[in-house]
Symmetry: C2
Subunit: 353 residues, 2 copies
DNA sequence: CTGAAAGCGCTTACAG
DNA sequence: CTGAAAGCGCTTACAG
C-alpha cells in the first residue's frame, strides 16, 4: 500500500504538482474545473499532505510541549484541560508529559521536546517550584530558554532567566484570611505542605504577614509527614484533636488536606460546618464531593491557562517584551458551606445565609 | 538569528554534510578526530537536527494521538498517565486532546491527528461508548481505521471495524456481587449511570444476570437526573432513604456516585460502614479520600494502559493479526472498609477483620 | 572512513 | 491561471 503523494494526484489529473498543491492548500489560483477533479482524487485516495514536508518549508510545528508532575493530580489536570482547549482553538497540538516532579525526567522530556521541534514549552511543578534547586538545574533551564520559548508556571522564575505566569498566592492568602476574619475567626491554623516548595512556603510567609496585619492569631504547622494530600489533613487534624484548645479555622495547603482535616474532625464528632471553619486552595472537585462543601481559593483555571497560552504565543511570535517576565494574577475566593458560620453565630448554633 | 543546519557545521569543520549527519546520528563510520570537532560545534551552537527533514525520510513520527472526553476525570487521567509512561519509555510522544465527549470535536481531533501524521491513535469515551451511534459516526471511524492504526478503549468496537482493548466489566460486576454475597448481602441496589453508554448499560445487564445466578435480589435504578458523578449518588440515596426498606448494599456506577450515596447515608445518620455496604467502580482517589474507604473494582490502570500500547504498537508495526480484534481483560476487586461488615455481624454491631 | 548526489513530499517565487 | 525549478534539512545507497 503505497503512500499517495501530490505527484500521484498530479499525474492522474494531468496537471503539475504545483497546481495540486495550490488546489489543496488554497494558496494561489486554480481553474474551477481542474480544482474539482483534483479534489475528487483527494477524496478518493483519502489524501493527506505530509506534514513534515510542509513543516520543513514552514519552519514551525504548531506543537507545544507541556510538562506536569502528574495529570492525575486534578490541579494540573484542570490547567492542562483549559490550556489544551485554547491551544487547540488556535491550531496548536499539545504534547502532555508527566515528569513525576523528578528533575532527571524533566531533563529528558525537555530534550525530547527539542528533538520534536515543538514551538514552545510550558512547564509546571518539579524544579520550577523547588526552593533549593541545584545550580545545574537552573542553568539547564536558562540555556533551554534561549533555544525555545518557555513559560514556567511558578512564582520564582526569575532565577531561571525565563518567563513565569502564576497565581498570586500572596493575594490568595490575604483574601482567605480577610474572609475568615470577617466571619469572626481569630485563631487560624494552616496545615499540610512543607518548606521545600515555593507554593507551600510562600503561603506560610503570607499567612504570617497578613495574620499580623489583620490582628489574627495565625499559626502554620504542617503536623504530618504527608504533605499535599488528604492524609496530610487527616493526620494533622488528629494531632490538633489531642490539644487542649482547637483553632477557629483550619486552612489546608490544598483542598485535599483541608477535606482530610474536615473529615477527621467530623469523625471526631465536631460539628462541621460550625464549630471549626475549613478552607483549602485550588478549588478542585474535592471541594464539592464531600459531606460539607469546602471554601477554597481558585486559581481560575480558564483565565490562568489563557494567560499562559497568550504569553507563550507572544514568545513564539517574538512579540512583546524580551527578557524574562513574571506575570502574577489574582485568584478568586470561592465561599462555600465550610466557612459559612460566623464564629459567634456558630457558638449559638445559628447558620447564616 | 539564523537556524543552524548540518551544512553550517559541515563547512565550519571542513567536511561534507553527509559526514556531519553520520557523526550526529551515529549511523556509519566517522574518524574519531573529525567526530570530535563536529560534536564540539554541535555543542557550541546547541544544534538540534530538524525533525521534519528527518521524519520526511523516516516516514514515521513516533507520535501518538490520544483522545479522552476530559482529563479532569480521574479515570481518564490514570489511563493516560500510565499510557504516557510506557509510550515515553518506548520513544513515543503522546498528544492528549479532550473531546468533551462531543462527536464533532472528536471528528476534528481525528482529522488533526491525521494532518499531524501521528503513527497511531487511542480513543476513549464519546462515541466509542455510545450505544445509539449514528451511521456517520460509525463510518467515520471505519474509514479512519484504514488510514491509521487505531485502538478504541471500549467493549463495543466491532461495529467500528476497529480494535478494542477494554476492561471486562461483566467480570467486574460478577466479582463484586460474589464478594457482597460472601458478606451475606442479598438486597443489592445499583445507582447512577444511564442506558445510553455501554459501560453503564453493560453493568446493568451483568448485575441482573449474576444476581439471578447467585440468588441475589438485585435492582438497578438510576434514581437521579445526574449520571456519573457524586451528585448522582447523593440524589439517589436521598430517594432510597424515603423508602420503607433500605438495601443491604449499594453499588455506584463509579466511585463518585458510590461515595455520594455513602456520604448521604452517613449524613442521614446511618451507620457506615455497617448498616449498608457501599462499593463503586474505577478505583480512583475518591475511594481513599473519604470518611470511609470505598471498595471498588479497579481496571488496573498500568496493565490496561500497557495492553492498549502493546496493541497499538503491533498495529503500527503491522505485526499481529489483521482485521479488528477485541481484547477484554479482568479487572481487580479492591476490598476496603465500606464492605467490611458481614450483614449478620453488622446487625450485631461487630466489625470483622 | 568520506563525498557527491539523489531523494523524502511539499511550497513558492518566477516566468509565462 | 499554470508549469518548471529550486529549496526546506536531513539521510543513505553508491562509489571510491
Amino acid at each position: 500500500m503505497k503512500k499517495i503523494t501530490i505527484y500521484d494526484i498530479a499525474s492522474e489529473t494531468g496537471v503539475s504538482a504545483a497546481t495540486v498543491s495550490r488546489a489543496i492548500s488554497g494558496n494561489g489560483y486554480v481553474a474551477g474545473e481542474k480544482k474539482e477533479r483534483i479534489m475528487e482524487l483527494v477524496d478518493k485516495y483519502n489524501f493527506v499532505p505530509n506534514t513534515f514536508a510542509k513543516n520543513l518549508q514552514a519552519g514551525y510545528t504548531k506543537t507545544i510541549g507541556f510538562i506536569v508532575p502528574n495529570v492525575v493530580n486534578q490541579y494540573f489536570a484542570y490547567v492542562y484541560y483549559e490550556f489544551e482547549k485554547i491551544a487547540s482553538e488556535q491550531g496548536y497540538m499539545t504534547i502532555l508529559l508527566n515528569s513525576q516532579g523528578e528533575h532527571e525526567i524533566e531533563s529528558k522530556i525537555l530534550n525530547n521536546f527539542l528533538l520534536q521541534n515543538v514551538d514552545g514549552v510550558v512547564m509546571m511543578g518539579g524544579r520550577v517550584d523547588v526552593i533549593d534547586v541545584s545550580k545545574e538545574d537552573i542553568i539547564e533551564i536558562q540555556e533551554y530558554s534561549k533555544k525555545v520559548p518557555v513559560v514556567l508556571c511558578g512564582r520564582a522564575t526569575g532565577r531561571f532567566m525565563s518567563n513565569g505566569v502564576y497565581t498570586n498566592d500572596d493575594r490568595g492568602v490575604e483574601m482567605l484570611l480577610a474572609h475568615l476574619k470577617d466571619r469572626g475567626h481569630r485563631d487560624i491554623f494552616f496545615i499540610g505542605g512543607n518548606d521545600k516548595f515555593y507554593p507551600s512556603y510562600d503561603k506560610k510567609v503570607s499567612a504570617y504577614k497578613y495574620g499580623e496585619k489583620m490582628g489574627l492569631n495565625v499559626r502554620v504547622d504542617r503536623l504530618s509527614e504527608e504533605t499535599f494530600n488528604y492524609k496530610a489533613g487527616v493526620d494533622s487534624m488528629k494531632v490538633l484533636l489531642e490539644r487542649e484548645e482547637l483553632p477557629d479555622a483550619i486552612c489546608g495547603i490544598n483542598d485535599g488536606a483541608a477535606v482530610g482535616a474536615m473529615n477527621a474532625a467530623i469523625q471526631a464528632g465536631i460539628k462541621v460546618p460550625g464549630a471549626i471553619a475549613f478552607a483549602g486552595f485550588d478549588y478542585t472537585d474535592a471541594c464539592r464531593n464531600n459531606l460539607v462543601e469546602l471554601t477554597s481559593v481558585s486559581p481560575r483555571y480558564e483565565y490562568f491557562a489563557k494567560r499562559v497560552f497568550r504569553r507563550l504565543e507572544q514568545l513564539i511570535r517574538n512579540e512583546g517584551e524580551g527578557g524574562h517576565t513574571l506575570e502574577l494574577f489574582k485568584p478568586e475566593l470561592v465561599v462555600r458551606e465550610s466557612t459559612l458560620y460566623k464564629r459567634q453565630a456558630c457558638q449559638e448554633g445559628i447558620m447564616l445565609k
